[in-house]
Point group: C2
Chain length 298, copies 2
């Protein structure tokens, strides 16, 4: 490959940067980052690549352009680079929801230019270039989006690109993607934020200090409730229809569970608890988590 | 101390057994365990202590009796040992909720015998004697319950006992205990079970395979949703009043959050996400979790 332009260099962008450099996949890597704080971190860390102040020149010089910014930045950035885009550009992004950004891209991107969306499942509660690592994508899933208008050449290209990043690639359409991740990722994050908020509300009301007793469960949730707020606001807004449905399903289950405990419905509760236990074994078998009590943290 | 009787030898009981032996705190340790499977595990593991088939003799010979069984076993066991209990016995348990078991104890325990309740915050998603460890309580909180009728001598004794187990001791009454842990432990577990159940419901309905994409958040919840079902049924039933209130508060927050994302209330969402983020730093500062992304599991 010739040159790659990374737009945004936080946790994921800087991980791509490290990996692309390490594997010598590109001749040149251009890095565009609007945050001055991040730029000074990148310099201090002596990360590879060339930091560019303007997009136009590096767009012209690059074959692959990867958007690694929050999704709410896409529109502005697309309008900035539109005039320099040609059919030879392969463009992708790493956003966590797809249908809404597809609409934004359709509306803003110059005609006849393809956008082929990616979603590496490799987030974390930490952000910023200082937390990136070359093996962030290693053995993690990367979803590639294939919709009706997807450019198959670009899809193939990105398939092999993400494999070089260490990912296992799976292909699905935007609709299916947004449904699946509303349950496996967006709802868990939303729940985590709201559980922590409920604990804060309770603390205020009861004037008890709670947080120091968080080792009984709450601390697990606090981790993902510490995730980047801009990124997650964008996800919640962009996938709001599926997430709302997921919330409704979840509240329905909560209310049934509440009924079960209030009526001491032994059979129903035990059945539910045994059923959900099986999922953990499945997750470990699928190598989606480590096989150690407490995530091996103690 | 003279002799200690452990009633129940699963994760916590066997951890106490290991620790008491290692620190040479008792002359003799008696272990009563009703599960044949656990007994054969204990033998295979060559754990210290003497396994007893009947309670009476070891009750007579012991100074300290620790209930390490699910709370639903207390009544039956108390009725079994009542006739051999004397005022010199110090009795405690390690149950995760207090008000309801206090009522059970009051109803079943022989007159003039004291019961002084403990709750070491040291659970895990694994159970059984094979998962116990001598340092399970190290630097973890242990709550000692002090109610109106608590025997202060026994309380002092247990305070020093748990410190020998490695715990940091905090004293509070049953009511406060059950309120605090309904939020920091019981609600998180209940939510985890119901989130995993919602994912299962969704899988069935949509016929999508979800679990393999659980690294985006769901896997964190699946860990505590794998906890022992008998123990957790008992907790949910015993603390149902506080837990129901906690569910209501949480659902209220969920519904408000849903409104916020559907109306794209930027200000409110960002404020909430930033607020909850602070709790994570607090938890880490209080050494209630480790300071590594992803719990250091990757």
């Amino acid at each position: 490959m010739k040159n790659i332009l990374l737009i945004g260099c936080g946790l994921l962008g800087s991980s791509l940067l490290r990996r692309i450099h390490k594997k010598k996949i590109a001749r040149k890597i251009f890095v565009y980052e609007k945050s001055k704080k991040n730029i000074s971190k990148i310099k201090k860390l002596k990360l590879p690549g060339t930091i560019v102040k303007r997009l136009n020149d590096s767009v012209l010089k690059s074959q692959l352009i990867i958007f690694c910014t929050p999704m709410s930045e896409y529109k502005k950035l697309i309008l900035k680079i539109n005039k320099d885009l040609t059919k030879r550009h392969i463009i992708t992004d790493i956003g966590s929801s797809k249908l809404e950004s597809k609409a934004v891209v359709k509306k803003s991107l110059k005609k006849d230019i393809s956008w082929t969306s990616s979603h590496p499942i490799a987030g974390s509660e930490v952000s910023g270039p200082e937390n990136g690592k070359h093996n962030l994508f290693e053995n993690k899933w990367c979803v590639l989006i294939k919709d009706k208008k997807t450019n198959l050449k670009h899809l193939n290209f990105l398939n092999s690109f993400w494999k070089k990043m260490g990912s296992k690639v799976v292909i699905m359409n935007s609709e299916k993607h947004d449904k699946i991740f509303s349950i496996t990722s967006h709802l868990p994050h939303l729940i985590a934020y709201n559980l922590v908020k409920s604990a804060q509300d309770f603390e205020k009301k009861q004037k008890y200090s709670l947080i120091k007793y968080s080792a009984g469960g709450l601390r697990d949730f606090s981790r993902i409730a510490a995730s980047n707020e801009i990124m997650w606001r964008d996800i919640f807004f962009n996938n709001k229809r599926n997430i709302s449905k997921a919330i409704d399903l979840f509240i329905k289950n909560l209310n049934e569970f509440k009924k079960d405990i209030n009526s001491k419905n032994d059979k129903s509760i035990i059945k539910k608890l045994i059923q959900t236990k099986k999922v953990r074994s499945k997750i470990i078998k699928l190598k989606q988590d480590i096989d150690k009590p407490d995530f091996g943290r103690n």
